[in-house]
C-alpha cells in the first residue's frame, strides 16, 4: 500500500457555545467532530455519510484548516498541519481544494466565471502571464463541460449545475491531489446530479485525485466511493470498503440508514424490513454517555450506556464502533 496522502487521527473540533450568563457568558463545548480517525491513499475516494448535523461538513473544513481544530492530528503528505502558521497552511492548501454545497453562494456574485476559476491560480502563481491564465481557464472550462465563451458571464446567469461546474473548475485549476466535496450535489436538481457526479468521477480519473466525498445520500456515495465512513454525532460508527459496507453493514446505525434507501423494485421494497429510528438526533452539546447512538439504537443494552465502544475490526478490515456488532 502506498503511503497515505492524508492521515486524520483522533480529530476533535469543539465550538464554544454560549448557553447562559448575562454579563459573563457561560460556555459549553459543542462537539461537532469528536475523535475521528481515517487514512486516505492517493487517488482514493472516501465517502463520509451521516445525517445533517453529524459533523461531516465540519470534518471537511477541519481537514482544510478552515476551522480551528481542538485536538488531534491532520497529517498531509507526512506533514502535521494543525498548529502550522498561515503561510505553511496556505502552501499545503495548494494541493487540497474544496467544492461547496451551495453552488451559487460559493461564487462571488461580482466576479465573472473566468475570474472565479482563475482565482486560485492568481493566488498561487502570480507569475503566470494573463494569456497563460486565460488559456488554462479555457481548457479547464471545456473539461468540466462549460463553453469557454462563457468566461465573461456572472454566476447568476448560470444554472445550478453550471455553477457547480464552475466551483469544480475552481477546485481543479491548481491540479490538486485532494478535493473535498462537501455535499456537492445535494443542492442540485435530481436530473443534473448524475452528470455532476460523473464529471467528478471523470476528473478523478484524469487527474488521479483523491476525494473526500461528504454526503447524506447513500446512493451517490455508493456510486463514487472506494471506502465509506459513517458518522453519527461527531463520532465514527463504521468504516469499511464500499462493497463490504453496502452488502453487509455491521453497525445498527448503518443498517437503519440503509433500510431507509428505497429499492427500485416494489416487491422487494415492500418486503424489506424497515428500521425506523426513534426520536431526534441528540444535542451535540450534551451527547449521551457511552455509545452516542444508544438513545435511538434498537439493540442498545446497559453496557452501551456505560462504556463507549472502541474500534473493532472484522475480517476484510471492516471497522465498527459497537458493542454488539456481531449479533
Amino acid at each position: 500500500m502506498t503511503a497515505p496522502l492524508l492521515q486524520v487521527k483522533d480529530l476533535k473540533v469543539h465550538f464554544p457555545v454560549r448557553t447562559g450568563g448575562v454579563v459573563i457568558g457561560r460556555y459549553q463545548a459543542l462537539r461537532a467532530v469528536d475523535g475521528v480517525s481515517f487514512d486516505l491513499a492517493p487517488g482514493e475516494t472516501l465517502g463520509i455519510v451521516g445525517e445533517s448535523g453529524c459533523g461531516k461538513t465540519t470534518l471537511g473544513r477541519a481537514v482544510l484548516q478552515l476551522l480551528p481544530v481542538t485536538s488531534g492530528a491532520v497529517t498531509w503528505l507526512g506533514q502535521e498541519m494543525t498548529g502550522l502558521g498561515a503561510a505553511a497552511v496556505k502552501a499545503a492548501r495548494e494541493h487540497m481544494q474544496i467544492v461547496f454545497q451551495d453552488p451559487l453562494a460559493s461564487l462571488d456574485p461580482r466576479m465573472t466565471a473566468g475570474d472565479i476559476i482563475a482565482e486560485p491560480l492568481r493566488n498561487y502563481h502570480p507569475e503566470l502571464s494573463r494569456a497563460e491564465v486565460t488559456r488554462r481557464v479555457g481548457e479547464l472550462m471545456e473539461q468540466v463541460g462549460l463553453l469557454p465563451a462563457m468566461v465573461n458571464r456572472y454566476p447568476h446567469e448560470f444554472s445550478g449545475g453550471q455553477c457547480q461546474r464552475i466551483g469544480i473548475a475552481r477546485a481543479m485549476i491548481l491540479k490538486p491531489k485532494l478535493v473535498i466535496c462537501d455535499e456537492p450535489v445535494s443542492a442540485l436538481d435530481v436530473s443534473v446530479r448524475a452528470q455532476v457526479v460523473n464529471l467528478l468521477k471523470d476528473l478523478q480519473k484524469t487527474f488521479g485525485l483523491a476525494m473526500l466525498f461528504i454526503s447524506h445520500d447513500l446512493a451517490v456515495v455508493r456510486h463514487i466511493s472506494d471506502r465509506v465512513l459513517v458518522l453519527y454525532l461527531g463520532k465514527a460508527m463504521e468504516l469499511a470498503t464500499r462493497e463490504s459496507l453496502y452488502q453487509a453493514p455491521r453497525h445498527p446505525y448503518t443498517r437503519a440508514l440503509m433500510s431507509a434507501v428505497p429499492i427500485p423494485d416494489p416487491v422487494k421494497e415492500r418486503a424489506k424490513p424497515r428500521i425506523i429510528l426513534a426520536g431526534d438526533l441528540p444535542s451535540p452539546l450534551d451527547p449521551p454517555s457511552g455509545c452516542v447512538f444508544r438513545t435511538r439504537c434498537p439493540k442498545a443494552t446497559a453496557v452501551c450506556a456505560a462504556k463507549e465502544p472502541v474500534r473493532e475490526t472484522s475480517a476484510h478490515g471492516h471497522d465498527v464502533w459497537c458493542h454488539h456488532w456481531r449479533e
Binding site: 462571488d108 456574485p109 466576479m111 491540479k175
Partner: protein, 303 residues
C-alpha cells in the same frame, strides 16, 4: 500523478485564435453606466459645472473679490456693465462669485469625501472582516470620535495648527468617515459568512487580497449611494463652518456661504439666492442620479 500537468502541453488549439478576452467588473460596470441615460446626462452636467468653475473665472471681466466702485449696490443683470447676473449688495459680480464658490465647494466636497471614503472603507472592511479585538478597538475609537462635537473638534484643530484650507478637508473628512466605516463594517459582517468568502480563503487568498477582491466590490454599491449623500452634506457643513468663521473667509466664498448671504437678502434681491442655489441643486441632483447609476452598474444582476 500531477505530472500530467507537464508545462510543455501544446497550447490548446481548440480555443482558437478568437479566444475570448476576460473582462473585469469595472469594464462591465462602465459599459452599463454608459447605457444609463440619466447617469450620462448627470455626468455631462457635472463636468460642465466643474469646467466652468475652474476656468470660467478667467474668462470674466470681473473677479470674485473685485468691487465695482461705480455701483456699490445690488446691480441688476446688465450686459453693458458686464455683470451678466448682476452684483451682490456690495457690488461684486455674482456670476464670478458663484463660479469661484463652485471651485471651493466642489474641492471641499470631493476631497473631504475621498478622505472619508478611503478611511471609512478601509477601517470598516478591516474591522468587519478581522473581527475580534481589532474590531472592538476600531469601533470604540469610532464611538469616541462620534462623541466629540464637530465644532469643538474643528476649533481645537484651528488652535493647534492655525487656520487654513487643508485643515477644513481634514476636519470634515475625519468626521464623515465615521458613518462610512460603520456602514461598511455592517456590510462586511454579513458578507463574511457567505460561502464564497470561505471559498476565497480555501483557494489561498490572503486577507488583503480577499478584502480587495471580494469585500470591497461587494460593499461598493451601498458605499456609492452613501457617497452621493455625503458630498452635499460636506458642502453644507463647509458653509456652516464658514458661517462660524472657521471655514473660508471673505472675500473668498463658496456656494454654501453665497446661499447663506442670499437668503438674508431674499426679499430685496432674490437672485443672490437663486443663482448659487441653482448651481448647487443641479450638482446635487446630478450626483444622486450618478450615484444610482453607479450602484446599478456595479451590480451584475442588473443588466
Amino acid at each position: 500523478m500531477t505530472d500530467m500537468a507537464a508545462p510543455d502541453v501544446p497550447p490548446a488549439s481548440n480555443i482558437g485564435p478568437d479566444a475570448i478576452e476576460g473582462r473585469s467588473l469595472w469594464q462591465d460596470a462602465w459599459r452599463r453606466l454608459m447605457r444609463n441615460k440619466a447617469a450620462v446626462a448627470s455626468l455631462i452636467i457635472l463636468g460642465l459645472i466643474a469646467f466652468f468653475s475652474v476656468f470660467g473665472p478667467y474668462a470674466l471681466a470681473w473677479t470674485y473679490d473685485q468691487i465695482d466702485w461705480d455701483h456699490v449696490e445690488a446691480v441688476p443683470p446688465s450686459l453693458a456693465l458686464k455683470h451678466y447676473l448682476g452684483t451682490d449688495s456690495v457690488g461684486r459680480d455674482l456670476l464670478a462669485r458663484t463660479l469661484f464658490g463652485g471651485r471651493v465647494s466642489l474641492t471641499v466636497g470631493l476631497l473631504a469625501t475621498s478622505v472619508a471614503l478611503f478611511i471609512g472603507v478601509t477601517v470598516g472592511a478591516v474591522s468587519g472582516y478581522l473581527g475580534g479585538k481589532v474590531d472592538q478597538l476600531l469601533m470604540r475609537f469610532v464611538d469616541l470620535m462620534y462623541s466629540v462635537p464637530l465644532t469643538f473638534f474643528v476649533i481645537i484643530l484651528m488652535v493647534l495648527f492655525g487656520r487654513n484650507f487643508i485643515l477644513m478637508f481634514l476636519a470634515i473628512g475625519s468626521v464623515e468617515w465615521l458613518t462610512m466605516a460603520r456602514i461598511v463594517r455592517g456590510q462586511t459582517l454579513t458578507l463574511k459568512h457567505r460561502e464564497f468568502m470561505e471559498a476565497a480563503r480555501a483557494s489561498g487568498g490572503s486577507t488583503a487580497s480577499i478584502l480587495i477582491r471580494h469585500v470591497v466590490p461587494n460593499v461598493l454599491g451601498v458605499v456609492i449611494v452613501y457617497v452621493t449623500l455625503t458630498i452635499p452634506q460636506v458642502i453644507l457643513l463647509e458653509s456652516f463652518l464658514s458661517f462660524l468663521g472657521l471655514g473660508v473667509q471673505e472675500p473668498m466664498t463658496s456656494w454654501g456661504v453665497l446661499i447663506n448671504e442670499g437668503a438674508a437678502e431674499l426679499e430685496i434681491t432674490p437672485r443672490t439666492l437663486i443663482v448659487p442655489a441653482v448651481f448647487m441643486t443641479a450638482t446635487l441632483f446630478c450626483l444622486n442620479f450618478l450615484g444610482d447609476g453607479l450602484r446599478d452598474a456595479l451590480d451584475p444582476k442588473d443588466r
